[in-house]
Symmetry: C2
């Protein structure tokens, strides 16, 4: 088996964690006998500052010809906030039609969680975030800027098309897991969008009679998720609420250092992208203080997506094994550098 | 000193916790020598189902003539979700021009928090939520309902007028606390609304040179708030983000049973309303299993608002003292019924 991979290390700690993940990928290829042709793509602050380009058309075309994208992190204090996020991350999600943002929330044994008494058996859920629309569609409009009469309007656009594909994906996932799907929204206030999501849940649900469903408001979700994550198997939600509750999910897992995500194209019209959910953390870049687990668990999702299921499982297990021995999940206290940890995970993949 | 109070017990556990709070109010009046004339107003599911009325104009007029409103909770499985919330709670916030939703997030000593290692000295912040606009303005619009072409649009409207009054309130509060104000938003995605909030923060900040400010994205807030609440003194945010992060704040405090809120009119054009943040909890209504602390701490906020500062402090201290001795924060395990707990808090107010 052979695959093509575009690697976007990005800024700050992005290149460090990506390098660690690629070491792990080497080990997985070796052990499971597949090949991956890698192309490194220089997107991010440096590229933007030296060329003025965020996401050139040529790059989009090139990425579209790869089987998957491994993404590090972008963002730099040298670029105004929002520019790189919108111009690269959100632009890629759109250009590659990455309909789904997939966020497993899993507490691995031995990982310190800030939630007291939380155990791994009680924390194994997946959040399915609609990844293309909602409040993320547009820049909105402003009138009377700079005066006391200023008004800024933001729109959230929700289509049956995109909501259905997210909800169908979530049902399908639930049907091969514990068969429970929770819609998270704010239907009592966002009435029209809420009706759309509710109608789609019911309509798609007819195709999945064995999946039980329920509904939780996004505010209530922030109360339930930390204390009763076992209530949830698969949670489906819109783009903005997904952004918020997945970061809360990462807290349960032991923080940003551990959390992985996939931006999935599910209709063959683009390339899926996998990224740790942490940012570029410019304050600690270059010191070897970034936890490579998020990048390695994202690599595991990537391998699963490429059909390399055994390798995916091995990378996840190896990462979990190394996490279990770490004294802290980020920073100086990790007890080993980013690259050393990458090598440990790689060795664990090799020895199985 | 004499004041007028409208009491809206509402549905489910609302009347139980309100009764407990009124017992505490009796004790406070007795000890601190002020009088409060109380008018009970029957709003909620029963009233709606028997009369078809949500919030009649006469009621609005009557409420406007009171000095404050003490609210229990509304909501019932007999009424479709959203009807009572929008028709009563949100309608009251609008009619009474309750510009600010004030949510202290304070961990009282002895209260079990699900965040491991969190101590009361590290958890004392106030969230100031804009309470009248943003995503809460309108019902949105839908086209092609019931077809695969359906599109639902929701708007968020943000005015300099309302954002400034919330931000100014927050600065003023910060200036008499630890002098730190954090804006919580999602400026990298909600660009126009984000620019408005940022511009208002800067503009109003000129009047409060001694208040330090910073900015945290709402998703990052959900990561920081549980593990580093000591980072925050006053947090100001929009209506929707406020709805979400205040419920997360309640988790830190030991859950819904303990959390209080005020909906403040700050320009003399309406009446402020104080409510525990828990809902009507119909599943446990009538059993004495609801924690009256949220209602009593809301009463404390109310007394402060009426200028009864000593009474406010005494009610808060009494509630904290009783909380410290409770084996659990809600349900059967509280060790005493709602009304017994109310009496204990009242006695603690009396004895000081
Ligand atoms: C960087 C930002 C635009 C992005 C988002 O809001 O989706 C990030 O928070 C995420 O969750 O991937
Ligand atoms: C009941 C609901 C409309 C309300 C809101 O969303 O504001 C509630 O969640 C709150 O926070 O007071």
């Amino acid at each position: 088996r052979s695959h093509t991979l575009a690697v976007l290390p990005g800024d700050g700690v992005g290149p460090e964690v990506t390098r660690a993940a690629l070491t792990v990928l080497d080990a997985a290829q070796e052990r499971f006998g597949f090949s991956i042709e890698r192309t490194e793509v220089p997107l991010g602050a440096d590229h933007y500052l030296s060329t003025g380009e965020l996401l050139p058309n040529d790059t989009v075309t090139a990425l579209a010809h790869h089987d998957a994208i491994l993404f590090g992190a972008i963002g730099s204090p040298r670029v105004a906030p929002g520019i790189l996020e919108r111009g690269i991350i959100l632009a890629l999600r759109g250009a590659m039609r990455q309909a789904i943002n997939l966020r497993p929330v899993r507490l691995y044994p031995g990982v310190p969680t800030p939630i007291s008494g939380l155990t791994p058996d009680r924390c194994d859920l997946v959040i399915v975030r609609e990844n293309t629309e909602g409040a993320y569609v547009a820049q909105g409009s402003t009138v009377h800027r700079g005066t006391p009469a200023q008004v800024a309007v933001q729109e959230s656009v929700n289509t049956w098309y995109a909501v259905e594909r997210a909800v169908d994906f979530a049902y399908r996932l639930a049907s091969v897991r514990r068969k429970r799907l929770t819609l998270c929204h704010k239907t009592n206030v966002l009435v029209e969008a809420g009706k759309l999501w509710t109608a789609v849940m019911e309509s798609v649900g007819e195709r999945y009679p064995d999946v039980e469903t329920d509904y939780v408001h996004v505010d209530a979700m922030c109360m339930h998720l930390p204390v009763s994550p076992e209530r949830f198997d698969v949670v489906v939600t819109d783009n903005l609420f997904g952004d918020i509750v997945t970061d809360l999910g990462a807290v349960l897992q032991g923080g940003l250092g551990v959390a992985a995500s996939g931006n999935l194209n599910i209709d063959g019209t683009g390339t899926s992208m996998f990224e740790p959910i942490h940012g570029s953390a410019p304050d600690i870049a270059g010191r070897g203080w970034a936890n490579p687990a998020g990048a390695c668990l994202s690599l595991s999702l990537l391998l699963g997506h490429l059909g390399e299921g055994e390798a995916a499982a091995a990378v996840e297990a190896a990462t979990a094994a190394v996490l279990a021995g770490m004294p802290a999940m980020a920073g100086k206290g990790m007890g080993a550098s980013t690259s050393e940890l990458g090598e440990r995970i790689a060795r664990a993949v090799t020895t199985g």
